[in-house]
Symmetry: C2
């Protein structure tokens, strides 16, 4: 079962966050989640989002969260190709969209497995998603993340707990990486943390690049899928609070795509692009 | 049952937020909640907070949230005295601590009633608490609140949804009043909203005066009560994000009291003080 492998991942994850052992365990969790899900029924959902189709897995009276049909790949060989290309740093033969799909599939398949086997467990899927994304970041950038930064100010000395921070070293920027299954109206927190970090260390020392799975919500009775987005508020936050460098999604919300085209622009992309632009971002 | 009265309050609340009809219904909800709770057993909890004693109500296998023993008053005549003194604006004979106790008791008794009769319903207690506090503010200040403000900026025009805003009129400040059962590590949101409002309208045009019930958390199995507080982070937010004018609590967390004595100070008080200093604050 995926949970046994997840427990192994939990116990060893911190030892070498970007290490190959973690990637091996993540691949095993994906493969075992798929095996479990292959015995579950697909139940179509009514998508209220234009051009997106969603379904859920059903097991007895339990229904999983919504899965984006065009992003979901139930194929372990895709993961293996991604794993190999990542190791050889030859992702260009896959391209950003195929990379996004495989990472989305790894994340959502374990989330759905938990949805079908546990009661209201939000913590395990969230932690797994943090492991997945922070591992990929740590491997790709070749640095270990930290999750707090020291704040010094005259007679005040304290530690600020943060999301993941990747420090590329002297004279290079640092990444500030909130990792969330969804943010909804809580997206203000991402901007607020960026604001504090900018205030303490100066603007652009930390690049804010949150990675979020999706903003979907399923109305249980009606089986309707919507996206909870606050694009107007994001514009105000980008203008008034702090500037995010990227807003990465695995399943990019329809209304947030438009943030690329307004002023102030917020660059919203599918997460697969990260691997292709990381060098430029951190130059 | 309190719920019937709550439904009436819900349907008429918006018509005259500071009106006497709302206060009458709130009193009825308190009295009916007490009646229900009087048939429930008190179960002592292990308080890990120095000098504070907590208990919970039990009904069958359901346990309510934690109740602060020294703040809880199960006495409708106290509410009646408060109601009369509020109407005559003669609260000084009661004093801030007695006022805090009665408001705490009204809030927590309905919360506990819901805990014992519903499954994981967080929305109803939260909404009732918003009704209670916004009614008291609206009555005391003599103005109706709004919950959004217009943001104009060159070619950009949008509405920012906010917590309660009380506009005292020309040449007088406005109150920005988040009302929450608890904030825990989400307290950053309160500072973040204040930051946006300060940015749009200028510093000190809106006084940030959040009203929060408590920061307690009960570990279900161990029956232990703790307070989830982030005092160091609050200091950083007060320094870097925005300045709150007051942090009002019904059950003031032990570690937040100390914020009064550090730099930058955050003035943390029990909510009863609001009625005695509202004139000074808004002068």
């Amino acid at each position: 079962m995926p949970l046994t492998t997840y427990v192994s991942l939990q116990s060893t994850f911190g030892q070498d966050i970007g290490g190959t052992q973690n990637r091996k365990l993540i691949g095993e969790i994906y493969s075992r989640s798929l095996k479990y899900l292959s015995k579950s029924r697909h139940e179509p959902l009514r998508s209220l989002i234009p051009k997106k189709t969603y379904f859920a897995f059903r097991r007895g009276n339990k229904l999983s969260r919504a899965v984006n049909k065009s992003l979901f790949v139930a194929d372990v060989s895709e993961w293996k190709k991604f794993d190999a290309a990542l190791t050889n740093r030859s992702l260009s033969k896959l391209g950003p969209e195929r990379v996004t799909k495989i990472i989305y599939s790894v994340a959502i398949s374990f989330c759905c497995f938990i949805d079908l086997t546990k009661d209201r467990d939000q913590k395990t899927p969230g932690t797994f998603f943090e492991y997945l994304i922070s591992h990929l970041f740590a491997f790709w950038l070749g640095v270990k993340p930290t999750t707090r930064i020291q704040v010094l100010n005259l007679d005040m000395e304290t530690w600020l707990p943060t999301d993941y921070i990747f420090n590329l070293g002297h004279n290079r920027p640092k990444f500030h990486l909130p990792i969330k299954l969804s943010t909804r109206e809580r997206i203000i927190q991402v901007f607020a943390h960026q604001r504090v970090i900018d205030g303490v260390f100066g603007t652009e020392r930390f690049l804010g690049t949150p990675v979020i799975l999706a903003e979907t919500k399923t109305a249980a009775k009606k089986r309707e899928v919507t996206e909870i987005c606050v694009p107007d508020q994001c514009r105000i936050y980008q203008l008034r609070m702090a500037q995010l460098k990227r807003l990465y999604y695995l399943d990019v919300p329809a209304t947030y795509v438009k943030l690329n085209d307004v002023f102030p622009p917020i660059v919203v992309k599918s997460f697969g692009h990260f691997f292709f632009e990381a060098v430029t971002l951190s130059a």
